[in-house]
Amino acid sequence: MRLAVVAGMRGSGKTTALREAVGLIPVPVGFIANNLESEAMMRSVCRDTDHFPFKSPCARMRQFRYRTDLMREKPPALLICEPPGTCEDEAAPLVNPIYAVDRDRVSFAPLVTFFEPGKVLGGLTSRTVEGLRLRNMADESDVAAVSFADLLADDDREAIARALREVNPDVRVLFVSPVTGEGIRELASILESEGSYTRPLFN
């Protein structure tokens, strides 16, 4: 089984893009959301879906393991998860404990985080709660998926990529738009088979 964790703030466009990408993936896909709405949105394109009940931050590692283990009773080829808890939390602290014990049995896809373009420009700051969260999310990610790409001019794209790489020089920046289809095939490929979970292992 391959485990792909996809993070991103509420409203960052991740579920809409994921639904398009999963539609291109030819193998059985499971999905675990951190809220009922996202689970409902993914039901039509995934073989199995589930959601994480809301737990204390200290309980989420165990919860992540427990819910992914439930999926493994009849494992999908690809299991996509939102991080348990809230969309505002960093994902790597929740993935790492599973990685530590399961890396020989499970293949880990790159950590993908979705960003709203308007929140990246000038927003990756440690001065505000939202800015610090976004900054930490950018810092831990293997792939930064920038949504609403159909609305972006070339100058904006360059500025966004630059801002993300200032925080995380290793990040792959992927512009994504379900409207035009931009980046969707690449996203599907990353989730299904391309690359591996790397940045959180040494950051």
């Binding site: 809301f54 200290c58 309980a59 790492n96 530590a100 292992l201």
Partner: protein, 345 residues
């Protein structure tokens, strides 16, 4: 003469000297079980095994060399209120049955009942650790008030109550605070150096700033005031972001309700140190779920250095970002202790 680990810890926590090396206080809740290679249910399975618990705590300390222990292999005493805990053989205790999911059941109990067999057993473990190693610091670990409310009623339900039934939250947090005061008085009496309020769900990111101010801070203040009247300093460890400019006011309020403030992962240490000044001790440190869990050693040493540099001149006590539990490589924890000694001795 060199200060003992206990003196170093109390010096920083109680407002004394910042001289000498930085003390290390990993919150060793269950990792000691790995140090002895025993099953979780060996301690918790029937009657709480205080001797084995103490042996585990001391074995871990002997291997790592930290300055402060929590004195026992920890769990939460919710069974006395009709709750259910699970003790997986190689895992961490967790709540699986919530005693007050029907809030009316709370009326059948008194907060004083918290001192049951489990709490008595954990205290006995702390006594043994204190007898064998009087030179070490010893903290008593309890949950924060809203955190305990989440264990008692299910966190999802409490979060909904905040929106729909705030009076229930008021009543529940009041009960939990009373119980925590009783537990703290019992467990600290004559043996402990400090009380530690582990407060993952006393968390403004989850509750919102207003509800955190309304429910968590007054309750934490009640507990720490009571402890202060008994001569016991307290540490408050809420989760959430506190290091940003827009949370500075909330951080200062949070830091004022106890003698020490521990920040969680996701915070920048520099702004916390700057905002805090000398008004309270600052605790916090290496990320338990990345560096400490995965290593390698160079990364751990780098991260320890980062915290030491950020906290220079402050009343700083190094911890890990959260508690240390079984499954964590003990060798990595020892790297933290060694690097801390090497750099600050």
């Amino acid at each position: 003469m060199n200060a003992t680990p206990r003196e170093l810890f109390l010096g920083r926590l109680a407002g004394g000297s910042c001289e000498g090396r930085i003390p290390f206080c990993p919150r060793d809740l269950t990792l000691g079980l790995d140090a002895m290679g025993v099953r979780t249910d060996s301690v918790f399975g029937g009657e709480y095994d205080s001797r084995l618990s103490a042996a585990c705590v001391l074995a871990l300390q002997a291997e790592v060399g930290h300055d402060v222990t929590m004195g026992c292999i920890s769990s939460y005493g919710l069974e006395v209120f009709g709750g259910e805990m699970k003790y997986p053989p190689d895992g961490i205790p967790y709540a699986s049955g919530y005693p007050f999911d029907d809030i009316d059941r709370m009326d059948r109990y008194q907060p004083e009942q918290i001192v049951g067999d489990l709490v008595r057993g954990m205290r006995r473990s702390c006594e043994i650790v204190r007898e064998k190693r009087p030179d070490l610091g010893l903290c008593i670990n309890i949950p924060g008030p809203v955190t305990m409310a989440g264990f008692a009623r299910r966190l999802e339900t409490v979060m909904m109550d905040l929106l729909e039934n705030p009076d229930i939250v008021e009543k529940l947090v009041s009960f939990c605070t009373d119980a925590l005061i009783v537990q703290s008085e019992y467990m600290t009496d004559g043996i402990a150096d400090a009380l530690y309020m582990a407060s993952a769900s006393d968390n403004p990111d989850m509750m919102g700033d207003d509800d955190y101010r309304r429910h968590s801070l007054p309750a934490v203040s009640r507990i720490s005031e009571r402890m202060r009247s008994l001569g016991i300093p307290s540490v408050f460890h809420p989760h959430g972001v506190f290091s940003t400019d827009d949370r500075r006011g909330l951080f200062l309020e949070s830091a004022s309700v106890a003698d020490g403030f521990q920040f969680a992962e996701g915070n920048e240490p520099g702004p916390i140190a700057e905002a805090c000044g000398d008004s309270c001790a600052v605790l916090g440190g290496i990320n338990g779920f990345s560096s400490l869990l995965l290593g390698p050693e160079e990364r751990i040493r780098r991260d320890v250095g980062r915290f030491i540099d950020a906290m220079e001149g402050r009343r700083y006590i190094m911890t890990c970002s959260c508690s240390v539990n079984r499954g964590l490589p003990i060798g990595n924890l020892k790297v933290v202790a060694d690097e801390l000694r090497r750099r600050t001795a």
